[in-house]
Amino acid sequence: MLKKRIIPCLDVKDGAVVKGVQFRNHEIVGEIIELAKRYSDSGADELVFYDITASSDNRNIDKKWIYDIAKNINIPFCVAGGIRSVAQAEAVLANGADKISINSPALENPQLITELAKRFGTQCVVVGIDSRIIDGQYQVNQYTGDESKTVVTRRFVEDWAREVELRGAGEIVLNCMNQDGVRSGYDITQTKLVSNLVNIPVIASGGAGSMSDFANLFKQTRVTGALAASVFHKQIIAIDELKQYLAEENIEIRKC
């Protein structure tokens, strides 16, 4: 049986791991390699690194830290932030990332998803979707790394999720912004909606606060993984204990 993945997300800003609340007020929580190794050793199934300033600052990401991560862990990891071209994606992959994730640039130029999938295979291409509920509709946001630059697009999450699948994305990370960093549980309604719409893996993000939030997510939706940051960074939840708990809840999980 395919196991549900537990994925710590490390937001990287100026070379350090940071975490904000609802995408704002970032505080430094640790050093990249140290945290990556700690999570990998404690049973994380995969890691995601978001360079949260890259897209909104319109600059390339520095690749050295990616290479350092590849040297230090033996589980898969994905890099996101500022990838706007096939050449930039190639540089990230050549430095050892297993997957690349695009978000704002995919909204600017949806054709980029297709080009990346053709060149590297769909399994390499993750599309991150930042969605916020506005007047009862799930609307896609762009440039969320910097609050002053964040815009609400005209796209609805349902349409965008279907489109990215058709264009060749191999996975969707759905960031439910209303839940981000507030630790009140995953947005089950929205996650269920999106994971039922597509036949590529969907990873839920935003809102994890307790171990039961993970269990509820896996019991109630089709997601294949759960992404979380603050509960791991602040050591509110230990990954090995979380996995033990999920196994007792009869959720298929890789025990360590």
């Binding site: 590849a70 033996n74 589980i75 050892g96 590297f120 036949n199 089709r222 294949t224």
Partner: protein, 203 residues
């Protein structure tokens, strides 16, 4: 020295990083002489079957690989290339293992790619899986799968039962990524280098 065949994909680093950790001497190459002189060969694979076979053809490596007598380990797409044919781009592959590689059937509810950790079902024993057991989890990322046949050492279930580890003579393959499968993956790679050393001392 191990030859890691340059398959033209972007991500070869995960394989070579794993070899660095295991202190294995390797050369990343598409030179036929280097591959022929190597004590063992790794065929990684990123991209599509058609792209990878065209790359091997371009460098005159199709027969070089087919005629190898030293141990070869194909990883992910590299394992699929060992089969006769792939429907990914409808391309003839190396044909050292019989059968055709197909896409996961797009039946309702099957999420494709098969991405994540899944458990092995050991079918027959091989030195390649010493220390790995029934139900150990390893990391898969693929949309196409190779059938179970006489070459299957371990299988995995996802929609269909498919080959996760194969061997025919000196040709070995894993559908999953040992270099991304934590300590168990490193163990499998160590076993492969043990096989390489054993084949040296027996020749």
């Amino acid at each position: 020295m191990i030859a890691v065949i340059d398959g033209g994909g972007a991500n070869f680093l995960s394989v070579t990083t794993a070899l660095d950790k295991l202190k294995i001497d390797y050369q990343f190459t598409h030179d036929a002489d280097v591959i022929n002189l190597a004590t063992g060969v790794i065929l990684p694979g990123v991209g599509s079957a058609k792209y990878a076979m065209e790359h091997l053809k371009k460098h005159g490596l199709v027969d070089v690989v087919r005629n190898l007598k030293t141990p070869l380990l194909g990883i992910c797409l590299g394992m699929q290339l060992l089969y006769e044919h792939s429907t990914e781009g409808d391309v003839d592959c190396l044909g050292v293992i019989s059968g055709t590689v197909n896409r996961f059937t797009p039946e309702a509810n099957l999420i494709v790619p098969h991405m994540g950790w899944n458990n092995l079902n050991v079918e027959v024993h091989s030195p390649l899986i010493n220390g790995l057991g029934q139900d150990d989890n390893v990391y898969f990322v693929h949309s196409f799968y190779a059938p179970v046949n006489e070459a299957t050492i371990a299988s995995c279930d996802y929609g269909n039962r498919f080959s996760a580890i194969v061997q025919n003579n000196n040709f070995y393959g894993t559908q999953f990524h040992p270099e991304k499968s934590g300590v168990l993956g490193e163990l499998l790679l160590s076993n492969f280098f043990g096989i390489v050393n054993d084949s040296l001392s027996s020749n």
